[in-house]
């Protein structure tokens, strides 16, 4: 066959190369099996045999190169076609691979074909072009489908045959068939040696690609598993990237976000952060929480979010840093839960406790109100007398007294109203002088204490320490503590009932302290550890709800402080710690500067 010039050494080298490639592929058959590329082994084995057969041309029987050589060449090309299709998992029938080979052998059995070289060369050209085109086209298509770069190189090498056919025809036309033959010989040699190793590269690349795909699939399956697990969790679980500029980016969100936020998934998918729905979240709060998280603490942030049907609901976001690298992104993980129910319950409990305290205070308040009323009515009687006697100066003094005492009564009622309305949790904290808060609390609780013969001592430095709290919050806590102290001392003999209120500022920590001590014998030690839990009480059912201290605790915590209890000397001491208000003097100094 003239396509393959008679260069026995070249043919033997190509045969060895193809054989080695076939053996190597055989050693990698596991990978080939996985990519269903077994026919490539057949391809190179057949190629190897074909080159051996061509090598014996001229020095052996004629039929070896003509029949065996060409049949094996067609088998190799058909296997390459088939192998290329297999690389992209295209449907293909393995048994068809042998059809061109068998067809050639069949043709060779006819004597005209075998003896007429012209017919043979023409037929062989047809076989070669068809099979080569098929293999080339399939290799290109498979490269497009799999994006394996080594497969593209294989396709390129296959493609080189087409310009070769053109050039060959040209050289034959210009009467230089030997050049054409040499070109063909070299091309066949190069492709026969290069393509097998390229196919090896394809198998390696494909194996890596498959491995990667498996990892991706595994991740995807894992994530789908997580999604399935978290689907009904009443929390939004999130993974975020925290960037050095203080911003964050959502990487993953799971859990029943629709239930937690009240918004449909379509809206939530557009949101990077659920807190974008917040109505009451300041940048300062965001920054503080971000800083806490970056400091390695568990950051907790509570905020109200809008609801699709109007209104709002409270949620709590809790997050922490997963791992922190010196530079580059930091991963944060956390969850968001719906705390509206909890807020509602807290509000109900607070209001219940307030009402209970009001009930406990009612008797004392009656006394507090009767005192000024008694003075007012007496003074009014006397004014009538003064008018009768014409002592207008005395009448005037008494009228002033009436006004003063009226004011006293109305102050008590004001305080009561403020207490009954409850401290406004949603409002912002303001500076509250402890001295004034104590006075207001005593206006409310003083009556009961007075009625029970409790001596009230105060130890508040001047000027008074100033806390940062909601208006009314300190009063509510104090009234609670004073009322508790009063109840605790009910069983003590009169004359030994004392309450001591101590206020102090801790400048180092930026906090203020308000302590209420009684002489009621202290809290039973077994109750002390859970004293601030709801419904824990040392009182009988009709006296206490067990909510008062729990409310105080919640309130102090929400204000950024805390409350603690301990037994000492003759009774219990409750200490409220609150953040100190920034000194106004500093502001004044700054504005003066």
């Amino acid at each position: 066959v003239e396509e393959f010039p008679h260069l026995p050494t070249l043919n033997v080298a190509a045969a060895i190369s193809a054989a080695v490639a076939a053996v190597l592929l055989l050693m990698h058959r596991q990978e080939l099996l996985e990519m269903r590329g077994r026919s490539w082994i057949l391809c190179f084995a057949a190629m190897s045999v074909a080159f051996v057969a061509f090598a014996v041309r001229g020095s052996g029987p004629d039929w070896v190169p003509i029949v065996v050589g060409n049949a094996m060449a067609w088998l190799a090309l058909a296997a390459a076609w088939h192998g290329s299709r297999q690389l992209r998992a295209a449907p293909s029938c393995a048994s068809l691979v042998v059809v061109p080979c068998l067809l050639w052998i069949g043709l060779c059995t006819t004597s005209e074909f075998y003896t007429s070289e012209q017919v043979r060369i023409a037929t062989a050209g047809g076989f070669g072009i068809v099979l080569l085109s098929g293999a080339t086209i399939e290799a290109w298509i498979s490269w497009r489908a799999t994006r394996l770069s080594s497969l593209r190189d294989v396709a390129l090498l296959f493609s080189l045959y087409f310009p070769y056919f053109l050039l060959r025809s040209l050289f034959v036309l210009v009467g230089q068939p030997s050049v054409a033959l040499a070109m063909g010989g070299w091309l066949v040699f190069v492709s026969a040696t290069a393509i097998p190793y390229m196919i090896l590269a394809v198998t390696r690349e494909r194996a890596i690609q498959t491995q990667r795909q498996r990892e991706v699939d595994g991740l995807r399956a894992g994530r789908a598993d997580i999604d399935r697990l978290l689907k009904d969790l009443p929390a939004v679980v999130f993974l975020r990237e925290l960037l050095p500029d203080g911003s964050t980016r959502l990487l993953y969100r799971g859990g029943d976000a629709e239930r937690v936020t009240g918004w449909p998934a379509a809206v939530l998918d557009q949101l990077d952060d659920v807190s974008q729905l917040a109505v009451s979240l300041t940048d300062a709060e965001r920054t503080a929480s971000y800083k806490r998280a970056m400091a390695g603490e568990v950051a907790s942030l509570e905020y109200e979010i809008k609801q699709p049907g109007g209104g709002t609901k409270w949620v709590r976001a809790i997050g922490r840093v997963l791992d922190q690298r010196p530079d580059g992104p930091v991963l944060g993980v956390g969850h968001i839960v719906d705390i509206q129910e909890q807020r509602n319950a807290e509000a109900r409990a607070a209001s219940a406790a307030r009402l209970a305290s009001l009930g406990e205070m009612a008797l004392g308040l009656a006394h507090e109100l009767r005192q000024p009323l008694a003075i007012v009515s007496m003074a009014a009687e006397n004014v009538l007398d003064d008018i009768e006697t014409g002592d207008l100066k005395a009448a005037e003094a008494r009228l002033h007294r009436i006004i003063r005492q009226n004011q006293r009564a109305s102050d008590i009622i004001d305080n009561l109203r403020r207490f009954a309305t409850g401290a406004q949790h949603a409002g912002s904290a303001e500076p509250v002088a402890l001295q004034e808060a104590v006075e207001r609390a005593l206006l409310l609780a003083g009556g009961s204490l007075h009625a029970a013969g409790v001596a009230v001592e105060q130890d508040i430095p001047s000027p008074s320490p100033v806390a940062l709290a909601w208006p009314g919050a300190i009063e509510q806590m104090l009234v609670n503590l004073l009322s508790n102290a009063n109840d605790a001392m009910a069983a003590r003999p009169p004359g030994t009932r004392r309450v001591r209120i101590i206020a102090a500022a801790d400048h180092g920590a930026g906090t203020v302290r308000l302590a209420v001590s009684d002489t009621g014998g202290g809290v039973p030690p077994h109750i002390l550890p859970r004293l601030f839990q709801p419904f824990v009480t040392t009182k009988t059912q009709d006296r206490g709800t067990g909510l008062g201290l729990a409310i105080c605790h919640g309130m102090a915590k929400a204000l950024g402080g805390g409350i603690a209890a301990r037994n000492q000397d003759e009774g219990a001491t409750f200490t409220i710690i609150l953040p100190a208000a920034p000194p106004p003097a500093r502001d004044a100094a700054r504005s003066a500067a």
Binding site: S377, E381, N382, D385, R401, G453, A455, P494
Partner: protein, 139 residues
């Protein structure tokens, strides 16, 4: 009469009112002082006291006076209180001997109670003069 109350403004109003109506009035801010006043002024026949005075018990003072001051030195006691809790409760003493009035005072009732108390003290003293072992509240 002696007024015992820890609210000075109340004393400043009640004192002149009673004086204008013919009473001789002394005032005292606390039970111990009241007992001293009583001991030094034998002519005090009526004591008006609050129930709670500072951290001392006005009711206890009332009972002590009723117990100790009998016969020729008998003193009648009237209790005034700003507390609601005594209303409807059952004080240990008979109402006749220890009338309890509530602040703010209804002046008509208060004056009548004072008159009655003065009469009671007077009657007790007169009876004691005629019959030294007379019917004192503690006998």
């Amino acid at each position: 009469m002696l007024l015992v109350d820890d609210e000075p403004e109340f004393l400043q109003e009640l004192g002149p009112y009673l004086r204008a109506r013919g009473w001789t009035v002394t005032t005292s801010p606390a039970p111990p002082e009241a007992l001293v006043q009583l001991a030094t002024h034998a002519d005090i026949a009526v004591v008006v006291t609050d129930v709670r005075i500072a951290d001392r018990d006005g009711l206890e003072l009332a009972h002590r006076i009723l117990r100790e001051r009998t016969g020729p030195t008998a003193v009648a006691v009237v209790v005034v209180t700003g507390h609601g809790e005594l209303r409807g409760s059952n004080p240990t003493s008979a109402p006749m001997e220890l009338p309890i009035l509530y602040k703010p005072l209804a002046m008509g009732v208060f004056m009548a109670t004072l008159e009655a108390a003065a009469c009671r003290a007077h009657a007790a003293r007169m009876a004691a003069c005629g019959n030294p072992r007379g019917d004192s509240p503690t006998s």
